[in-house]
Symmetry: C2
Subunit: 228 residues, 2 copies
């Protein structure tokens, strides 16, 4: 389907991939639906090359990864998109080219095509509702290929549980109210920006329940001193 080719080109351009190879596109090439769905991606990546078979299309690749559901009749290693991305990055360090093979929307890949591939990429979805559109599958795979993690995540450092938003927003409302009463906002025009900046301070803080209680205590102390 032209639409899927266009959406595929868009996803590739979004994540810095450019070498799109089409095997016997059903609706011919070039294709108006593809152009429309691409949102201009074909101005950013080279025109796709057309091939007659996977064998032709993959001649200069060193590894072929087939995106398909788990197949009981094919004995192949099965990778998640993330594992496929890790494998790809290892290959790239060895100057080896990896081809990602996707089948047509309704029919998927044929057994003859899967047999030529080194491994299967399986996107783990809820078995009760597993149907992914072709271009969505491409998006999930190419976004992983381009994803390079920068630093490990922070573990939760605090002992007290996080405050829920009702608690945090309740504090922010009280704070704004108290600041109003204290004539903190010199200008009505600047107030929205100032309120937002204050909100940013406290929502960024990942406040615990204990910390919100502490902040309320601070406010109570401060306002009772201002207006005894």
């Amino acid at each position: 389907m032209g639409e899927n080719i266009g959406a595929t080109a868009r996803a590739m351009a979004n994540f810095g991939l450019s070498d799109l190879r089409l095997i016997n596109p059903r609706d011919g090439w070039p294709n108006l639906h593809a152009e429309k769905m691409s949102s201009g991606a074909f101005d950013h990546i080279p025109q796709p090359q057309i091939y007659k078979s996977l064998l032709d299309a993959s001649h200069d690749c060193h590894m072929l990864l087939a995106t398909t559901a788990r197949r009981r009749d094919m004995v192949k290693p099965v990778l998640t998109p993330q594992e496929a991305a890790e494998k790809t990055h290892i290959c790239m360090k060895h100057d080896e080219r990896v081809g990602f093979v996707f089948g047509a929307e309704r029919t998927g890949l044929e057994n003859d095509e899967i047999a030529l591939c080194d491994s299967i990429i399986n996107i783990p979805t809820d078995p009760a509702f597993s149907s992914l559109n072709l271009a969505q599958a491409v998006l999930l795979v190419v976004s992983q290929i381009s994803a390079v993690p920068d630093f490990p995540p922070e573990p939760r450092a605090k002992d007290s549980p996080l405050a829920d938003k009702e608690t945090v927003f309740g504090f922010l409302e009280r704070l704004e109210d108290d600041l109003d009463k204290a004539a903190f906002f010199k200008s009505e025009g600047l107030k929205p920006t100032m309120v937002r900046n204050i909100q940013n301070i406290f929502t960024r803080a990942e406040l615990t329940e204990q910390e919100v209680r502490t902040l309320h205590g601070i406010l109570t102390s401060l306002t009772s001193k201002l207006r005894p």
Copy 2:
């Protein structure tokens, strides 16, 4: 847009999420376009709840993550979808609820909404072609949330470079040819399946150039003995 709500519901159902909350949906609710784009997802997840503001919609959440482009005017931690997923899984272990906040297709999130969120999720895309559709952004985030890696990737174990596909397929063709000559295939009907099984053996092996040379050597030896 109804279409984006439907595609969002589909992506959520694909990855096992179910709590969809809509804030002032432009086209009202329920919506025919949403139904159509959902591919039946609303049979798998509860009907979305409608809210008047992010404040209402997030009252029982403990963490809010806003998906938006990097904002110079907002001082917030910026997470990749993968980091957001790791943060989410930590929260879930503490029985804390995480809300993922997405803005409308054209206008995105407003500053007042971002200010209420703890962190920003930024999907790293090619700056030269960065535009993601709303439902695509949802898909990339929710697929990460559900992604739980099973085991670490294997490092490359072999010294010789991987053979390219031309080399591997060249060997497979020669092998099939030799097997034909040796009357290996007893039945033409079973031959395609047998060929595929053989292909599976050799494509699964991630053959190096040296290994393919070795295999050619083996074939040469074997066939010269068969027909001297």
